[in-house]
Every structure is written in structure tokens, then in C-alpha cells.
């Protein structure tokens, strides 16, 4: 499993669609007048990301989102092209109330068509053997 640390998942490219921003802002219930010219801070999640495989994780099949830290650069604008790549940054094992857990930290970098990093996301995923 630890061999996967440092591995970068497949790079994905997406165009930031105005309609997708409108639907996202409606779904979160945010009427900020800056949208949809600008994307809301967590909109980038909806682009999807290719997380590198975690081999031998069969004993901890359940994944739970533990949280994220986001750092922002220039705003993400409707019409931008954003390239996304996710690296498995670290793995930790812990004994929890419900058995063994594996805590994985992924770093996703979002880069626009000008080569500017528009956001970096560190996401913690907690993997467990039992339900949620």
C-alpha cells in the first residue's frame, strides 16, 4: 500500500462551463452575484479527479471524506480550461473504535490554461473495514 505514496493519478482536463456553475450555485443555495462569471470556491470538486490506486486496501474498503484544505490563486472563470492532477501525499494507519483505519492525504492541483495554479486542495480520506 505504501508504494502508492507519491504516485500521481491521471491528469484530467475540463472546461469550466457557465451552465455547470449555475447548477452548482443553485444546488448549494448560493445567490452570490459574482456567479456564474466566477466559480464558487468548492466548484472545482465537481470536475472530478483521478485518484491514484491504493493497492492492497481490501481490508479497508469503506472511504469517508475527513475534510479538505484549499489554497486559492487567481479566480476560476467561466470558459477557463482547468487541468487537474492528484497525488497521494501520505498514508497513516490507526486503530480506531471500529478497527483498523488507513488515513490517506491526497493533494490535487488545479491549473488553468495560462499555467496558473488556481487552487490546491489537500483532502483527507479515512478508510475503514466496516460501514461508515
Amino acid at each position: 500500500m505504501y508504494a502508492a505514496v507519491g504516485v500521481i493519478g491521471e491528469q484530467k482536463t475540463a472546461i469550466i462551463e457557465r451552465g455547470a456553475i449555475i447548477r452548482f450555485a443553485e444546488a448549494i443555495g448560493d445567490t452570490n452575484p459574482a456567479y456564474p462569471e466566477v466559480a464558487p470556491p468548492t466548484f472545482l470538486r465537481s470536475l472530478g479527479r483521478a485518484v491514484p490506486d491504493l493497492p492492497d486496501a481490501g481490508s479497508v474498503p469503506r472511504a469517508l471524506d475527513g475534510g479538505s484544505e484549499w489554497t486559492y490563486g487567481p479566480p476560476v472563470l467561466a470558459g477557463d480550461t482547468v487541468h487537474t492532477a492528484t497525488t497521494l501525499d501520505s498514508l497513516r494507519e490507526r486503530e480506531g473504535k471500529m478497527g483498523g483505519m488507513v488515513i490517506a492525504d491526497y493533494i490535487t492541483q488545479y491549473v488553468n490554461q495560462h499555467g496558473e495554479t488556481v487552487a490546491t486542495q489537500r483532502n483527507t480520506v479515512i478508510r475503514m473495514g466496516v460501514s461508515v
Binding site: R23, A27, I28, P40, P41, S46, G67, E69, Y72
Partner: protein, 140 residues
């Protein structure tokens, strides 16, 4: 929208206007579609109960959108969200009223930056989600 805040008039301890959300199962379906997160625990009650949950639960990422919104609603068009973090401590269910509160805990007047601590509490007042944000504010 309230008046544009500026770095000079904001002091440590300042409470941002609270944000109240009353998510419905319909909103969770809407968010699943808009975000592409189709994990069934967020819209299929039978599936959620079979997983040992009380029923469908709110996407963590949807709560993170509100943790950011309480700040972006306040900072105004001249403010900028530099960074924010969110940590999930407990789950939330639709039908409850969720309140996001935030306060300024640090300020760098020269750099024009404040740091805010953010909490999301359920209808019983239990904090289920916490966060932090760094915000750039203009001068006067």
C-alpha cells in the same frame, strides 16, 4: 448584500453574519447531480439505513460549500478568499436547520488579511463541522 468590509474597520473578535441552511432531500439530489457525487447514502434511504445510518446524510462537500459561503457572503466583491479548510466531526441530516457562524481571530493590517474560525452547528447546537478561512480585504 451588506456594505463592503475593509481591513481597518474589522477587529479581532468580529462576528460575521450567520448563515442558516435548511437542506431538504431534494437539495441533496440536486447537489449529487451538480457535483457528480452519487454515493447512495446521500439520497437512497434504504441504502443509507442498510449502511447503519439513521437515513440519508448530507454530503460533507455540501457543508464545506456553506463553510466557504458564510465568508464569501460577507467579504464583498473587493474581498478575496485566499484559503479555507473544513473538517467533518459529525454527520448532518436533511430537515434540520444548520447554522454557520464565523469570527475574525487574527488580522494583519499591513498585508490586508484576516483569519476567521468557522463552525457549522445542527439544530440542537452541536458543532458537526469546523473550518478556517484566510480572507484578503481592501483598505478604506
Amino acid at each position: 448584500m451588506s456594505e463592503q468590509p475593509n481591513i481597518h474597520d474589522i477587529s479581532i473578535g468580529f462576528q460575521l453574519p450567520a448563515l442558516v441552511k435548511r437542506p431538504t432531500p431534494r437539495q441533496l439530489v440536486q447537489y449529487a447531480g451538480a457535483s457528480g457525487d452519487f454515493y447512495e447514502i446521500h439520497y437512497d434511504k434504504d441504502f443509507a439505513i442498510a449502511q447503519g445510518l439513521p437515513g440519508v446524510i448530507i454530503h460533507g462537500a455540501l457543508k464545506s460549500a456553506w463553510i466557504a459561503q458564510v465568508v464569501t457572503d460577507w467579504m464583498g466583491p473587493a474581498g478575496s478568499l485566499r484559503s479555507f479548510s473544513v473538517r467533518y466531526r459529525g454527520m448532518d441530516v436533511p430537515g434540520d436547520a444548520l447554522t454557520c457562524t464565523a469570527k475574525v481571530v487574527e488580522k494583519d493590517e499591513v498585508a490586508g488579511i484576516v483569519r476567521c474560525e468557522i463552525e457549522l452547528a445542527d439544530g440542537a447546537g452541536v458543532v458537526t463541522t469546523t473550518g478556517e478561512a484566510t480572507v484578503g480585504l481592501p483598505g478604506r
